[in-house]
Amino acid sequence: MSRPNDGTLDRRDVVAALMRDPGDLLVVTGLGAATYDVGATGDRPLNFYLWGAMGGTAMIGLGIALAQPSRRVLVVTGDGEMLMGMGSLASIAAAGAPNLAIAVLDNMRYGETGSQYSHTGHTTDLQAVAAACGWTRTATARSMDEVEALRPRLRSENLFAVLRISAEEKPRHLPPRDGAYLSDRFRRALGVVVD
């Protein structure tokens, strides 16, 4: 079922663009399709995939950003996960983290559970929510040209971006899900583990 205002972007194309030449970008992904999408671009130790802890992705990003102020942190998550942690948009804005950006893959649905409409499919505008919380840089992309224009900004600004993807479901790509492994390899890749 589709609606006239549905996004049209292919989520795998969007995430492939965001993750192209990742360098030493620190990436946190929200449970469900955002984790699969980022994993599908190639597993790397500096990707921290969530398979649960719904609503926590952005705050994990903030913690990393505060701990590593000279590194760039990108949060990639879905609209449902961001909605569950909507208060964190206020907490992050209040804390201030110039090295943190958030990209929300917005299909206006809870894709993992049968594509029920989320609040963005009803009445909520997450870009406006972020702006109202004090994010001074916000954007929405509806075309791949706009995604490409946001790509460098997501690696240089304290930007909150909504990416309007279609509701099409993709084959599941399952990156590692052992949290202790993901945590340990992330810290080792950052060089913060002392043996």
Partner: protein, 172 residues
Amino acid sequence: MDNPTWQESVYAALKAARITILGYVPDAGHAHLINAAHADPDMQTVVLTTEEEGIALSAGAWLGGQRAVMLMQSSGVGNCINMLSLPLNCRMPFLTLVTMRGEWGEFNPWQVPMGAATQPVLTAAGVHVRRADQPDEVAEMVAASAALAFDSQIPVAVLLSQRLIGAKVFVK
């Protein structure tokens, strides 16, 4: 110089544990620690809209190589439960100081159910719980709990009893 208060000793214990990020949902019982953290240029403070944010914040700090603590009151423990799967699954430390309500001279009945449930709920969720009732045991308990959390990479909660912090009194 006067002897430090137990609250001052707790802040010193957090500093000695090399904690550099402090997340909090305010409580009157934490007022000293919150003020001390804001006055400390080497402590990053994050005010949270809900307590589960502090668990995710602490996880991120650990991933980035720093140590965090979260301050909350017992009513906030119930907001945390699913998020506690994060440190457990990822074998990460988590340290929280919880001021207790609803147990000692409480005037507000709405605080009583979560106050009574705080310790069993945390235990059921896999958190190691310590409880301080006496002023002279708090700082040592916080220091030992920080060592347990960060060295053994487990979640640890220190409950600060309502008798210790003083029951909140409302007067007309």
